[in-house]
């Protein structure tokens, strides 16, 4: 934004005095606003029209109010109609004008009628017209002569001449730039060059171009773009110039046209142009000379060879063994004094070594000269080694490892511990040790040690454990039984009898037992099974083959006992009334039914029909089979049966004494009526006649 004179005040509640109108005012609400004058100034700077003052506002407001009222949309039809009218009116106006004009023109007819229909008058008229023309021509000539007199005519002619004569020579063209490649314009050809379109304000000089050449260049450029290779080639090969020099690689070459603009070849006409051409020629010559000087070697010069699988003679030379100086002699010569030497004080070795050192030095000298005296040195080395071994053997004799020494070395430590233990035997100081804890728990396993292969383990046990046992045995002399009891508890119920069993065992067992007794309490030897059944059983039990069944006795407290039923047997449970018991009604105790003693059931089965009528055996079976199969007889059959049943029923209802129509009864009734023993059936005296009365009368 353009620089402002006053900066707006944006302080917090920083109220500026209103004396200076131009300064922006800040309210307590932290707003900034500037006055109208300042605004107008800014607007003028921005190029906007100044603020409309309030007066206009007042007039605007009613308008704006009116604007708020809905303005109906333009009626396009009306608009078209009005336009049509307008057009028509214009047309009519034009017509009127033309007619007016024409009205003024006198037609031939009119002229003929108005004037005398004379050739004479017509001739006169034509002559008059010609005269007018001549007069006009004369006038013009007169004016020209006057111009010439004043010298104005010359100026006009010269100007005209100038405009025509715009011819130019090659001199004029000197220094003009032509924006084409020099090679494009061939010799001897006429090329029409025009000025290139340029911006008005461009300060560079004129540039000439040829339209056709521009087209060809554009075409070429488009082709290049179409062919365009990918801009980024990470593994591109080195491109070589026409002279064989490597082309310098430009970074991000694809953006050059965008950044620098299109590069166009150009040359300058005239003398300046010639110089340029000369420079170019010189450069090309220089390049060629450079090429000749440089020795160009292509990568293809060395022919490819098949690699041989075997080493060549010269390569074998590299494998020649180069004997290095043996450092052993050197170390021996100046060896570090070891403890062995001090003890021994064998001077022989030292002296011999010195001698060897001398020899060693000689050897070294020999070695330097040639490497073919390897064999001599080797033998000497062997001699040296032998001497060393002999010395060592001597040393060894002095220090020999005895069994006793071994035992002593081992035994030394625990003795100390034992002594410490003896100091306070009663005070059972608990020294917890992982192995000790583990070994202690071993006693809990009932089968541990019963298999009889635990004799060897005894030795592996900690000496500490052994000491503990020893200590116990010492105390045992005083309180043996107590200990036994404890031991029993520890072992978990092993009987004392086992001990007695063991007494009758083999010698080896005795020995082991002794040792064992001395050693620990936990491991007991396997009992002898040969004594009897009891022993075998005991062994089995102890091993865990048999389980001691201990019945769990549920101890009920006294109060609980009161709640329980006193006389309750399990049989009572069976008579409990629940849904399961009711199902098996006849499962209960079966007793003779004594109420109906002389009862002999009649095996007479009476089956009833659906209607309640008794069925015969055959019918009953039919009924049963229908029910069984789930389907009855068909329609016809059932109807037949129904009819039969009905007939049967009617038959039953029929009177046996009378006819179906009850003729006899009627006769008797009639007789009673007439009080006569006879009835006249037909004739004059017949009271009843079959013939209908109606018929007769008609």
């Amino acid at each position: 934004m353009a620089s402002r004179k006053e900066k707006p005040v944006t302080g917090k509640g920083n109220n500026s005095t209103s004396a200076d109108d131009d300064r922006p005012t800040a309210n307590s609400t932290n707003e900034t606003s500037i006055s109208i004058e300042e605004t107008n100034r800014i607007r003028a700077k921005l190029g906007l029209k100044p603020l409309e003052t309030g007066e206009k506002n007042s007039t605007d407001e009613p308008n704006s109010d009116k604007k708020d009222i809905h303005i109906p949309a333009e009626n396009l039809r009306e608009k078209k109609a009005t336009e049509e009218l307008r057009r028509k009116l214009d047309e009519r106006r034009e017509k009127r004008k033309i007619e007016q004009k024409l009205a003024q023109v006198r037609t031939v007819v009119q002229t003929a009628t108005t004037e005398d229909d004379d050739t004479v008058s017509w001739v006169e008229k034509s002559r008059r017209l010609q005269k007018q023309k001549e007069d006009a021509a004369k006038q013009a000539k007169m004016l020209e002569e006057m111009d010439e007199a004043f010298g104005v005519g010359d100026m006009v002619t010269t100007e005209l001449m100038k405009q025509k004569a715009k011819a130019y020579t090659s001199k004029d063209l000197r220094g003009l730039k032509v924006e084409h490649d020099r090679d494009n314009i061939l010799e001897g050809k006429d090329v029409v060059l025009t000025l290139k379109d340029q911006n008005i304000l461009q300060e560079e000089g004129d540039v000439l171009v040829n339209v056709n050449l521009i087209d060809t260049e554009r075409y070429k450029r488009n082709n290049e773009i179409k062919k365009q290779k990918p801009g980024y080639q990470p593994y591109e090969e080195e491109e070589v110039d026409e002279h064989g020099l490597p082309k310098p690689k430009i970074l991000l070459a694809k953006y050059d046209t965008e950044i620098d603009g299109e590069k166009r070849d150009s040359f300058v006409l005239g003398k300046a142009g010639d110089e340029e051409a000369k420079l170019k020629a010189q450069k090309s010559i220089k390049d060629k000379l450079q090429m000749q000087q440089k020795k160009i070697e292509s990568l293809e010069s060395r022919p490819m060879q098949i690699a041989s699988e075997y080493y060549t003679a010269e390569e074998m030379v590299s494998f020649k063994k180069v004997k290095r100086r043996v450092k052993k002699g050197g170390t021996k010569g100046g060896r570090v004094l070891k403890a062995d030497d001090l003890i021994q004080g064998t001077e022989e070795a030292v002296s011999s070594d010195l001698g060897s050192r001398k020899r060693k030095m000689e050897e070294e000298a020999v070695e330097d000269l040639s490497g073919f005296k390897v064999t001599i040195e080797e033998s000497q080395k062997e001699i040296r080694q032998a001497i060393m071994k002999a010395n060592k053997l001597k040393e060894k004799k002095v220090e020999q490892w005895d069994m006793t020494t071994v035992a002593r070395s081992i035994k030394r430590e625990p003795v100390e511990e034992n002594e410490s233990m003896e100091e306070d035997p009663m005070k059972s100081s608990i020294i917890l040790n992982a192995t000790a804890e583990f070994c202690r728990t071993l006693g809990d396993i009932p089968t541990y040690g019963m298999a009889g292969n635990r004799d060897e383990d005894e030795d592996e046990l900690m000496d500490f454990e052994r000491q503990l046992a020893e200590e116990r045995r010492r105390n045992q002399e005083k309180e043996e039984r107590k200990r036994e009891a404890e031991r029993l508890q520890e072992r978990g119920g092993w009987n004392v009898l086992e001990r007695e069993n063991e007494q009758g065992s083999d010698d080896s067992m005795d020995v082991d037992r002794h040792e064992k007794d001395n050693a620990t309490v936990i491991l007991d030897e396997e009992p002898d099974v040969g004594s009897g059944m009891a022993a075998a059983l005991k062994l089995a039990m102890s091993k865990g083959y048999l389980e001691k069944e201990e019945k769990k006795r549920i101890v009920i407290s006294k109060s609980a006992q009161e709640l329980q039923a006193q006389r309750y047997t399990i049989e009572d449970k069976a008579t409990e009334d629940d849904k399961y018991s009711r199902r098996n009604r006849f499962d209960g105790p079966v007793v003779e039914f004594k109420d109906k003693e002389g009862y002999k059931p009649l095996p007479k089965l009476e089956y009833m029909d659906d209607n309640g009528k008794p069925m015969s055996t055959k019918e009953a079976f039919r009924h049963l089979s229908h029910k069984f199969h789930g389907k009855g007889s068909g329609k016809l059959k059932s109807e037949k049966r129904a009819k039969k049943d009905e007939d049967k029923m009617l038959m039953n209802r029929m009177s046996s004494t009378d006819t179906p129509l009850n003729t006899l009864k009627k006769l008797q009734d009639k007789q009673k009526e007439l009080q006569s023993p006879y009835v006249v059936l037909s004739g004059k005296m017949a009271t009843t006649s079959i013939v209908k009365p109606g018929k007769g009368k008609k």
């Binding site: 934004m1 944006t10 932290n30 707003e31 921005l46 906007l48 409309e52 506002n57």
Partner: protein, 73 residues
Amino acid sequence: MIEITCNDRLGKKVRVKCNPDDTIGDLKKLIAAQTGTRWEKIVLKKWYTIYKDHIKLEDYEIHDGMNLELYYQ
């Protein structure tokens, strides 16, 4: 002449006087002159409606005393 309040919620509150037939772009220029930013950086909004530069205030029905939200892009 109408007066419009422009508030960016970071403490800048500006009251600008302008004509109703001014465009939003002109309004932005006036705001820029007062606040010291660049007018191209200003975005005037009302909730999610972004006011476009080439439309007049009266076409947007922005009347006197209206509040616009001032954002920056």
